[in-house]
């Protein structure tokens, strides 16, 4: 048992910390801090900063341009990125498609697409969920029918995050309707400029535009855009799910939130004293702080195990469940701390009066938006089902 990081790991942490201190533009961390929306231009610029350092594609193999980091190094990088209030990397090309292509893609696909992800030429989005296929992803209905050298795609995808910025989408499509659900699915790459595709915004509960619906009507996609074999899409989806699980606990983000809530509670007044001195509110903060301290160790334990075993196990579902609960609790505390000052709908305040302390005008919106975390990426109910089968064996 030894919870400390090695000298090398500590040196690496310092290197990352210095890098962010020197290279992260303050207008980016300001946006992160205030919870407002990133522009596409800003995201592209942030990606370019990391790419110049060779730190953009943290999970890629070195031969494709990854930094060759261990899981622990990636963990340290994530922690430091959060500490610096760096933006989140847009994961669809970098964290999701990249590893898929490296594992399942053809040489041509790798040569063509991977560099374009790093350079920012392609902005990818994800075509997985459908209106009738959410938790039950395998029931997806979007059809791809082989026709000569093309597939013809018809159907609808939804919850496509940041699709409004994307020029490419990777999709799960049904290529064989006559076999067991999981066996008739393929993974295919689609240029969003192809005729027959329409993208419509979905406005979220708090008013933001972050996700989209994508409609496919007789969309012709070259068969060369298939990744892997026809009907092996489910295998790829499961591989991707495992990859998505790095940093699933969101510990770094929760540490950010905790610091923000503590700072907020020190400036907000309640009953003539700072809210941080209110025994009930202080207890709420301390409670979640303790849970987060435990979660840090739970996260490291599973990271350690994954590093030993080569891949994360089903127990990472614990990280998803508890990690989102902690994150949501912290957003809840920020919202509560503001009291009536949380009321204004963002952007509606006429004039230049502000109710909330700096960087907290969006806290209610962030609370509502954050409810998504226990729903997407396999809802917490699905995670409990997984744990029931794998860990409890019931």
């Amino acid at each position: 048992m030894d919870l400390s990081f090695s000298a090398e790991e500590q040196a690496f942490r310092q290197e990352v910390r210095d890098f962010f201190a020197e290279n992260l533009p303050s207008e980016m961390s300001d946006v992160v801090r205030s919870g407002s929306e990133m522009t596409k231009e800003m995201m592209d610029r942030y990606h370019a900063i990391l790419n110049a350092k060779g730190w953009l594609a943290t999970t890629w193999a070195p031969e494709f341009g990854g930094p060759g980091w261990s899981p622990v190094q990636r963990h340290i990088f994530e922690e430091e990125a959060c500490r610096a209030y760096a933006p989140r990397i847009v994961p669809f090309g970098l964290a999701m498609l990249g590893p898929v292509l490296q594992q399942f893609g053809s040489k041509e696909q790798q040569d063509h697409y991977l560099p374009r992800i790093l350079s920012g030429e392609d902005w990818w989005c994800q075509g997985y969920s459908e209106p009738g296929a959410g938790s039950d992803l395998a029931s997806l209905k979007t059809r791809a029918v082989r026709d000569g050298d093309d597939y013809v795609i018809n159907g609808q995808k939804t919850w496509t995050t940041l699709g409004q910025h994307a020029n490419m989408i990777f999709c799960l499509v049904r290529t064989d309707p006559d076999v067991k659900q999981q066996q008739g699915i393929s993974f295919i790459l689609v240029d969003l400029d192809t005729p027959g595709i329409e993208m419509r915004p979905i406005r979220l509960i708090e008013g933001g535009h972050e996700v989209n619906e994508v409609f496919f009507t007789d969309v012709r996609v070259p068969a060369a855009n298939l990744v892997g074999e026809e009907n092996m899409g489910w295998t790829i989806a499961k591989f991707l799910l495992t990859h998505e699980r790095t940093n699933i606990a969101g510990v770094g983000f929760s540490m950010q939130s905790l610091e923000e809530v503590k700072a907020l509670a020190r400036v907000v007044k309640r009953n003539g004293k700072p809210l941080s001195e209110d025994p009930l509110f202080a207890a709420r903060i301390a409670q979640v702080e303790i849970d987060l301290e435990a979660m840090k160790i739970t996260n490291l334990r599973m990271l350690y195990k994954a590093q030993k075993q080569g891949a994360p196990g089903p127990e990472t579902s614990i990280l998803k469940i508890k990690g989102t609960v902690i994150g949501q609790e912290l957003k809840d505390l920020a919202r509560r701390a503001l009291g009536p000052s949380a009321a204004p709908f963002p952007g509606s305040l006429e004039g230049n009066l502000s109710l909330a302390p700096a960087d907290h005008a969006n806290d209610a919106a962030r609370y509502f938006n954050n409810r998504k975390t226990s729903i997407f990426g396999g809802s917490n109910e699905i995670q409990r089902n997984i744990l029931t089968k794998t860990m409890l064996e019931l």
Partner: protein
Amino acid sequence: MDFDLTEDRQMLSDSLTRYLKDKYPFEARNKVAYAAPYHAPDRWAELSELGAMFALAPEEAGGFGGSGFDISVVFEAMGRALCPEPVLGALLASRLLSAAGADQEALLAGTTKYAVGLGELEAPYALDLIETQARPSGDAYVLNGRKSAVYGGQVADIFLIAAKLEDKLAVFEVSADKASVTGYAMMDGGGAAEVVLEDVPAKLLIGDAASALQDAVNAGIVALCSEAVGAMDVLQTMTVEYLGTRKQFGRPIGSFQALQHRAVDMLTEIEQARSITIKAASELGGPDATRFASMAKNLIGRAGRLIAEESIQMHGGIAMTWEYPGSHYAKRLIMIDHQLGDTDFHLSRVIAA
């Protein structure tokens, strides 16, 4: 003991519910709720005609109600429809005008809009920490201070302002055009305002107003709790309907026991919320009104969060969208906890009592 509404109240409830359903279908509601002035002036007059405001005041003040149960009936209907009209401001003002024995015909008739300035940025809930100052000036007074989250303040004609006059808490009448008013839409729709008072002329309404203000807050709490109960009922119905129709893995998700049991827990908390609201309504105006108002607001805060969060979670993605009505009910339930004292504030008051 009788847990049925009187015939009159049942009729008011029915006609309000019908009216709101008719005039505030979901998309129309959202349009009104989020575009300045964050309410519909035409509807305001009609609501008054239907008796919504008259029900808030007792007969001696020109109304036909004014009890806790009258307030409940009006606000529960508003909650079911997510009605964004600034009736809360009218209620608070009506209580103060009644306490002052002042005329409130224009308020009840809907021709003059009142809003009440209570909380301040550093004293959002506790009346005894109010810092807005009044001082005599000739025959009248001038006020200095800032009132935060003045509900309905974005369209008010007259503000009733709680301010310190020497060592007492008093209530003053201020013409809206004399104050600096910054309106905004609320997170969950409807409007409020920040009201900045800089040497603003004011008329004294109540000189020693501590108990009248507390009564107004208590009435406001009964209103908000009733609104919450109305919204909870609708959201629970929506959630259970969704559970019964949404299919995943080849079966309605409502057939999964884990969701069933959680839906039952929602039901249980809604019944508890309804009960404590009835209790607070029945005590309004009596010696224990403040204590039971605090109990109710605390329970509503907890139950509201549970119902809002669980309904979103059980719906999945759809309840995260602006387009789905349920998301707005959930928002309202959460944001009610930010009005007139939250879960913790009222718990502390129950402890201190």
